[in-house]
Symmetry: D2
Subunit: 100 residues, 4 copies
């Protein structure tokens, strides 16, 4: 089962700046070899279900290991069985409509 | 790693009523033996990381098997390393403050 | 337009415990006279759109005034035009199915 | 109060394809003159609190008017009082760390 998630991890108890923790997660996602794209409020990740969720778990483990005592993550999780659809397809289908 | 999640699964392409699909997920969560509590916008689930996420995956598989071609799930995922905290603890700590 | 939201406010830069800030929000919601119910990962609130969102804004203002430099809120927002449905109706329709 | 939101509207009861509804929302956001950027799982929008939430409300009204009987939106809402930060700043601060 392929999945597209939107992953937004917020460490708590580490002060106001969390970019160091987010950067560590980006590296973990990158090393997993999954298609991904960061935006201002999270990162879209696309891949097989088990691989994507293994990455999410590794991010929690890594951010705790960096000293964050508490983590609050938000995930959107999309699956479909009617057809294959990539992250790029989703954006493209809306942009197509906007052009016409 | 223990986790408390808030799990809200929305099947798409099945019409306006989704209570049948949500009920199927409740049964799956119940059968997994995890502590859980349903509210008007999802279900809190508490347990070991791998067990909780296995349940989320089973729910996606079951709802697709019921005929939903597309699923859009929202998950909040909380972990902490500073101390143990249950779902009930979280609510109780706020209610304590409100009483004083 | 009636709305049912699930509201989860997370203050950042205030340390690991946020129950004081959540309790302040509960008081604001209570004083607004809106139907609401807290769970382990947020609060369901039901009411007219403008009143509900005014409460969300007041909570952000109050939590900043308590000293939180940064807030990260997650909201689920449900509206429907086909029929009236309360928070209690949503839970009841699933529980009915589970009993049969 | 400036806000950065991540806005993801899901119409229900309209079948599996929702790109027509998402495109209508993009047009509403565009016409409001707010800074925004679409990704595969929503749209980041930046601006004054009241203007941003007025746009969210207009999107719900417009998508209902297009025939969707039910809407399920997810919003992330970020405010901060310690300093100004744009959507671009958020992404840039992580990318800076990744380059070094």
């Amino acid at each position: 089962m392929q999945v597209i998630v939107d992953f937004c991890l917020v460490p708590m108890g580490v002060g106001v700046s969390v970019s160091r923790h987010v950067a560590a997660c980006q590296t973990i996602i990158e090393e997993a070899g999954l298609v991904h794209r960061m935006h201002a409020y999270g990162t879209n990740i696309e891949g097989p279900w088990d691989e994507v969720f293994a990455v999410v778990k590794r991010c929690h483990e890594a951010v705790h290991a960096m000293g964050a005592p508490r983590i609050n993550t938000t995930l959107k999780v999309g699956t479909r069985t009617d057809r294959e659809q990539s992250m790029d397809d989703k954006v493209a289908s809306v942009e197509d409509l906007l052009r016409h």
